[in-house]
Subunit: 168 residues, 2 copies
C-alpha cells in the first residue's frame, strides 16, 4: 500500500500538476502575460512562490522514495524559471519514481529516516511516510494549486484529484 | 497503517487546524476586525470560503472513517458562522474519530465505497483511502491554511505538520 500511496499516487498527482501548468500556460497566453509571472507568484510576501512550491513537491516525492527504498535519485539544481524547465523537473521526478517497483519498498517501515536539520533524531519509515512525506507532498501541491487559482487559472477539484480508479 | 494514516494522523492535523484558528483569532483581535470576516474569506470568487473548507475537511475525515469502518458518525448541519461554532465542529469530528480503534478498520481494503454522485460506480476501500480520502483531506486543510496565510495570519509549516513522532 505504501508503494501505491507514495509512488503510484504521487505519479498521478504530479501528472495532474502538469495539467495545472497546461491550463496556466493557456491562461497566460490568452491574457497576454508572461508565464514566468506565475512562477514568481505567491499568496503572502513571506511564502515561497509557485516555482519553489513545485520544486519542493517534486523533492518531497523524490527524496521520500529514495529514503524509503534506498534507490539513488537524480539531483536537481532548483534553477527552473520557465515553463519548459519546470515541466522537465516534474517529468524527471515522475521518470525516477517509475523506475521503482513495489518490491523496492519492502521493509520500508523499519528504516530509520533522518536529515541534517533533525539534529540526530529520526523517524521510523512508516511514521515518516504518514506524518511527513504525505502531508508535505499534498501541502505543496495544494499551495501550487491555490496560487494559480488565486491568479485566475480555471482549476477545479477534478484537476487536482485526476481520474479515480472506479469499478462498476 | 490505515488506522494511523486516516484516524490518528487526521486527529493530529485537525488539532493543528484548531491551532491555525487560535492564531487567526489572536490576529483578528490584534487588528480589531471580526473573526467572522475570515470565515467568509476565499482566494478566488468561485472558491469555497474558509468556513466551508473546514466543514469539508471535517466531513472528509468523518465520512472516510465511517465508510472504512461502518461505524455510525455524527451528522452536522453546516451552519457554523462563528469561531466557537467552527471549533465545536472540529472537536466533534475529533471526538468521533477517537471512538474508533485499529480493529474497527480491519477488512477496510475490500469494502466497496460509493456515494450518490458516483452513479453506481464504486472504489475499493484501499483505493478510496489512497486516491480520495487522503488527497481531499489535505487539500481542504491546506486551502484553509492558504486562506489564512493570504490574509496575514502568521502561520508556518510547523503549524501545519505539528509535532513529529521523532525517536533518538
Amino acid at each position: 500500500m505504501t508503494y501505491e500511496m507514495t509512488n503510484v499516487q504521487c505519479i498521478n498527482i504530479l501528472t495532474n500538476l502538469l495539467g495545472f501548468l497546461d491550463k496556466a500556460a493557456a491562461y497566460a497566453d490568452h491574457k497576454k502575460f508572461d508565464f514566468e509571472v506565475l512562477m514568481q507568484s505567491r499568496l503572502a510576501p513571506d511564502q515561497f512562490p509557485l516555482a519553489r512550491q513545485i520544486q519542493i513537491a517534486c523533492d518531497t516525492a523524490k527524496l521520500g522514495a529514495f529514503r524509503l527504498t534506498g534507490k539513488e535519485a537524480p539531483s536537481h539544481a532548483d534553477t527552473e524559471k520557465t515553463l519548459p524547465e519546470i515541466r522537465q523537473r516534474i517529468e524527471s521526478t515522475v521518470n525516477y519514481l517509475k523506475t521503482l517497483s513495489a518490491k523496492d519498498y519492502e521493509g520500508f517501515a523499519s528504516r530509520k529516516i533522518t536529515q541534517p536539520r533533525w539534529e540526530g533524531k529520526y523517524l521510523m519509515g512508516d511514521d515518516y511516510m504518514i506524518h511527513h512525506l504525505i502531508p508535505n507532498f499534498y501541502f505543496h501541491i495544494t499551495t501550487a494549486y491555490a496560487i494559480l487559482r488565486h491568479n485566475g487559472v480555471d482549476l477545479g477539484k477534478g484537476d487536482f484529484l485526476g481520474t479515480l480508479p472506479f469499478k462498476k
